[in-house]
Amino acid sequence: MSALRRPVYFLRRALDAMARGPRVTVVATGTIFVAAFLTGLFAGALQGAQKLVAAWAGEVQISVYLDPSADLEAARAAAAAAAPGRVVEAVTAAEALRRFRETLGPQGALLDGLKPGVMPPSVEVRAPGIGLAEARALAKRLEAVPGMREVDYGSAWLERLERLLKQLRWAGTALFSALAIGSAVLVANTLRLGVFARRDEIEIMKLVGATDAFVETPFLIEGMVQGVLGGSLASAALLAAAALTLPRIGAALGLVAPIARGDLLPPALLVALVAGGGALGTIASALAVGRELKQKRP
């Protein structure tokens, strides 16, 4: 007899067992909650970091520095063709020096006496909202601008950040795997205590002719319910934490466009945490009850 044929009966037995052993239920749910929360926290932080990198990349202005002898108008036209829809501005050497002086403020007088040609002419491309990969591709295209000497889009630190993110992603995968295995073992051990406390019940069930599936099904449902509960609580806690901290983080980093809660904790991630919790609980239960049943075989 499978759970598919008598779902209500098995569900009732699972809930009944959970009510009779609330301590095991609380510990198992708590363990899955911690595992899911930590996983979600890490995944959310990664998503946030990626979002920040993308935002910072978008604020970077791409500059194409030219030879002093280059045809500035031709270079501007070529840059505009390479970056359709973007704001492209030609900056003469004199204008570049003026802007530099302005940047220096009171120290601008230090530049007195320099010839206007000391700064190279350039073409500036503004691309708000552009992603890092897109910025890199655009910079590559701009290398074809006639008279180009160098293309700068502040790549060095963005590249470093992106490398760090890649490493973090690997670390996240490793952490998630370790958490999943650790949690499965921890939850399985917790549930084994529950199974051990109910070994008489299992023995009697087997005695009156219950199949392994009949014995296992309520335990699997229990594990799944505890897992879904733990995953749901973790999702709720993450949403609450995000609601509390995101405005402060946005203000601290001086972001123009604040990071939205959905950017960090997309619905797919929350669903994955709940489903993952359920799967973890079910697997842990299967391990725990399977071991007990194996011992009961002739």
Binding site: E201, I204, M205, V208, G209, A210, T211, R297, P298
Partner: protein, 228 residues
Amino acid sequence: MIQLYHVYKQYPGDAPALIDVSLTVAKGEFVFVTGPSGAGKSTLMRLVFCAEAATAGQLLVFGRNVAKIKPSHVPPLRRAIGVVFQDFKLLHYRTVAENVAFPLEVRGLPVKEVRRRVGAMLRSVGLELKADKFPLSLSGGEQQRVAVARALVGDPALLLADEPTGNLDPDRTVEVMELLHAANARGTTVVVATHDRSLLERYKKRVVALERGSVIADGAEIRKVGMA
């Protein structure tokens, strides 16, 4: 019903629990298996309901060789066997009726049918008024009657009782034995493991005597020589 041919059972690091046991229990028989503690009575019962496997020999239950039975074939076999233990083995958090209903739930019987059969069984063991009580609120004799009701509710062809009266006073012992007797009268084969000589004297049935794992006597003459 039960046939044992040169059955051995050896637990690791222990003396043999059964040595070359051969015996047959026919359909409808009532048999006492007797002997001192450690004689192998419980081991014999456990082999018959497949709680353990024999180390060597052939053991046929309902014509099937259970010495080589697959784990997946054990549950259907057990549904045809009722088992009663000295320590009752009741679920204390379930009511009397729920305990008795358990074997029927395992079989997936409809709720109405389960209720009907449980009610009838509780009436037959005189516990219809205790249906909603929990086992720990009952006397030892009543708890054993619940265990007997649970063993019989599925109409088993074979009833195994391992020291069913070991924890009971003489009056309660008679009550429980009468239930087993009645089941036998209705056609159920009954095997009772006991070291209580008074039972052998009172119920003139076949007696198989075990000692140190071997059958030392089989038949009614045991009562006369007092070997039990």
